[in-house]
């Protein structure tokens, strides 16, 4: 067996080809994105609460937050299809689901950003939480993660119960 054949076999054995060529079956992920959301919010809160004096808690918060970020990126791959392939482009139903899911999540994120802007007008008042530079950076990643999780969550709830292949 040549080196290239061995490398090919290793790729198939690990299942990486299924991710790269999107060979896996899309799933409706109705609850897992909510868990990732909860982890994002919890991680962000822990970081924001301990950023003044970084310690072990700060590291745990960072691990939770960025772990949830990674999970968000993976859930997007394994959830409802948002990207077609050359052999299987998205059909009209999938395009509709994708458009609606992204429209709803875009509106939700815009509303969140708007409320954040209103909050910032009061953030300088005593007793109000004022984000630091690290908090802003994490917020940017958090919104990015939410932008991946929300469409997956919404599209999963928009999908009817799958039709079994053996019904063919």
């Amino acid at each position: 067996m040549t080196l290239l054949e061995k490398m090919d076999r290793a790729v198939y054995a690990t299942g990486i080809d299924r991710i790269i060529f999107m060979k896996f079956k899309p799933r409706a992920l109705r609850w897992t994105p909510l868990l990732a959301f909860a982890a994002l919010v919890a991680g962000y809160a822990v970081i924001a609460g301990s950023v003044a004096s970084p310690n072990r808690t700060y590291l745990i918060g960072t691990a939770i937050f960025y772990g949830a970020f990674m999970v968000a990126a993976f859930l997007r791959l394994f959830g409802p299809r948002f990207t077609g392939t050359a052999n299987h482009p998205l059909d009209e139903r999938e395009l509709t689901v994708k458009a609606r899911a992204h429209a709803i999540s875009g509106t939700a994120l815009a509303t969140f950003a708007m409320l954040g802007c209103f909050y910032m007008t009061a953030a300088d008042l005593p007793g109000f939480w004022h984000p630091r530079a690290v908090d802003w950076m994490n917020l940017g990643f958090g919104i990015q993660a939410a932008g991946m999780l929300l469409p997956t969550l919404i599209a999963s709830w928009m999908q009817p119960r799958p039709v079994a292949d053996d019904e063919d």
Partner: protein, 83 residues
């Protein structure tokens, strides 16, 4: 929203066409055909016409705003007319 009924499953069974074959012929995911048959998805006019063209029947034989008569009922009625 108005319900849209179809008898894609009946035509498919009659012609011995699998869901996957029909999906490939009209250019959609086979889950989409399943959702259509189950009434979970309403097709675009383009898709409805493609499916009708595939079975070579007028579109109103496949899709209707009224529920279709069951096959058993149609056969019973046809037999009664024959007598």
């Amino acid at each position: 929203m108005t319900d849209l009924y179809n008898r894609i499953a009946v035509f498919r069974a009659e012609r011995g066409v699998s869901r996957r074959e029909l999906a490939e012929a009209v250019g959609v995911n086979n889950q989409t055909i399943g959702y259509l048959e189950r009434g979970d998805y309403k097709p675009s006019l383009e898709l409805a016409m493609k499916i009708a063209a595939y079975f070579d029947v007028p579109i109103e034989l496949l899709f209707s705003f009224q529920p279709f008569e069951s096959v058993a009922e149609s056969l019973r009625r046809a037999a009664a007319v024959g007598e």
